[in-house]
């Protein structure tokens, strides 16, 4: 059953469309990778899925009991966070906020859940460390744990490996794959087409016409794939 249905959606800024006629659906357990060049509308699409922007036309439907505020989100790091005094525990627990409602404090159940997620991601020993003193890879794990606290169904990741070295990148991709295998749907915005082909189940390529949406097997044989891999592939070979 489809978790998200996107029907004939146009996206853009101030009435000027960047992407038009977008159609795709995400099913439970999918791992969708959204690829495209800079300025192709990847981020806009992601913001729209997260309810931060409105569509110019068309419709995005959530089903299967998915509420917009139950989406776990891993944003790119902001300038503010670089010198923010916060412990890892505080950051991760803040992911539980959306299930608090009007309650001012976190419940025991939420804290246990957060502790379990930290164990799963191998960051239990960092709990009382200061977030700004962690390495880039550790910080991403912490933010991933926070996103997992916010959802049981769908993770949205915005360039999760930006600025990480190859080893850490590989580990993080593996971690995300494991999470996906446990039944959480993943939508990842990325530049990294090679990782997309390796890990994702579906690929949405936006920016150049025709837009592509389908499984990765279909994508490998499509035209869009070849030119994108050739264009971006040199530094990997």
């Amino acid at each position: 059953m489809a978790l998200i249905n996107v029907n004939g959606v146009s996206l853009g800024y101030e009435g000027k469309p960047i992407v038009t006629d977008l159609n795709f659906s995400v099913n439970k357990g999918d791992y969708l990778c959204i690829v495209g060049e800079n300025g192709s509308g990847k981020s806009t699409l992601m913001k729209t899925l997260l309810g931060q922007k409105n569509v110019l036309s068309g419709k995005i439907e959530f089903s299967d009991g998915l509420k917009q505020k139950e989406i776990g989100y891993l944003p790119q790091q902001t300038q503010v966070q670089k010198d923010f005094p916060a412990s890892v525990k505080e950051v991760i627990l803040s992911g539980c906020l959306n299930s608090c409602g009007l309650r001012p404090f976190y419940s025991k159940k939420q804290k246990d859940n957060a502790a379990q997620i930290m164990k799963k991601l191998g960051i239990s020993d960092l709990a009382n460390k200061c977030y700004r003193e962690l390495s880039g890879g550790q910080q991403q794990r912490v933010l991933l744990a926070r996103a997992l606290c916010a959802t049981k169904k769908l993770l949205v990741l915005d360039e999760p490996v930006a600025g990480l070295d190859p080893v850490v990148t590989k580990n993080l991709y593996r971690l995300i794959s494991n999470i996906n295998n446990e039944g959480i749907t993943v939508i990842m915005v990325s530049h990294d087409i090679h990782a997309a082909i390796e890990f994702a189940s579906h690929i949405l390529h936006i920016g150049n016409k025709p837009l592509f949406f389908g499984t990765k097997e279909e994508y490998k044989t499509s035209d869009g794939c070849h030119c994108f891999i050739c264009d971006g592939g040199h530094d990997h070979d």
Binding site: L50, T78, V80, S87, C100
Partner: protein, 278 residues
């Protein structure tokens, strides 16, 4: 020295000054942590200039300063915090523009229309604080107390929300937190604290009460909760020290409190450096 102090504290107005000073410093410090981290350190400065302009208008129109200054400052705060990111003019430029604009217009109005014979004296008092902290009435102190209770309650009830919105607004908004509402809440409370704090340290020095305790605390502590608590403690210590010294040596209350904050900041910086090395 202690005898002099006890004799001073037999006067109710000295006790009032101490209570009000400590409460205002506490509120300013609580807000300061969030404002400094959101890169809004200058908002205290900007809003206090707006409050100065509003008070000038009130003086010229013969109205009670508070009734004019409070609503105008609240509106300015909401606009300034709301401008961030969305507007054509960026946050820091907007703050600078509104603050110097209000300051200039306020001084201009006072100069043209004031009936007072000592305009520059009045202006100096409003800008740098006066002895007016020593002329507080019981009502003023009760007002301060009520405000402190409100600020504390807001901080306790919304603590986790304030943390999340401060740390990562994008994440907070995406997971269903009404970030706009919390930003507005912080803006309104900031404006109220600033208008009340003008009595204590004057318009130009309020920023110091907002930013110094937070910055000092951040040199040493590494979690949000510990920074919030320690900055409140630091603010209270500095306020008490400053007021004692001001009473004993007859120095201006506002600048003495700020001086105490500066000394404390340097101390915290040194402690932070030493503890990092070890």
């Amino acid at each position: 020295m202690i005898e002099t102090l006890t004799s001073y504290f037999s006067y109710p107005f000295v006790r009032y000054a101490l209570i009000a000073g400590v409460l205002i410093a506490l509120c300013a410090a609580l807000l300061g942590v969030s404002l400094v981290l959101k890169r809004y350190s200058m908002i205290g400065d900007g809003l206090s200039h707006v409050a100065f302009g509003a008070i000038a208008v009130a003086t010229v129109c013969n109205l009670a300063p508070m009734t004019v200054a409070l609503p105008i400052t609240v509106v300015a705060a909401v606009i300034l915090l709301g401008l961030n990111g969305s507007g054509k003019i960026k946050g820091d430029a907007a703050i600078a523009m509104i603050s110097v604009g209000a300051l200039a217009l306020g001084y201009l109005l006072l100069n043209i229309f004031s009936a007072s014979s000592n305009v520059s004296g009045d202006v100096c008092t409003t800008l740098f604080g006066s002895t007016s902290i020593l002329t507080l009435s019981q009502t003023d102190v009760i007002l301060c107390l009520a405000l402190t209770v409100i600020v504390l309650l807001v901080f306790i009830i919304f603590y986790h929300k304030i943390f999340t919105v401060t740390f990562d607004e994008g994440f907070a908004a995406a997971t269903g937190t009404n970030t706009k509402a919390y930003n507005t809440l912080i803006a309104v409370v900031t404006a109220i604290v600033i208008v009340l704090a003008m009595n204590l340290v004057g318009a130009l020095l309020i920023s110091a009460l907002i930013i110094f305790p937070a910055l000092s605390a951040m040199r040493i502590f590494k979690s949000f909760l510990s920074v919030i608590i320690s900055s409140s403690v630091i603010a209270v210590i500095c306020a008490v020290t400053g007021i004692f010294i001001a009473i004993l040596y007859g120095t201006p209350v506002g600048s003495t409190i700020v001086a105490a904050n500066i000394v404390f900041f340097i101390l915290c910086m040194l402690i932070g450096k030493v503890s990092k090395r070890s």
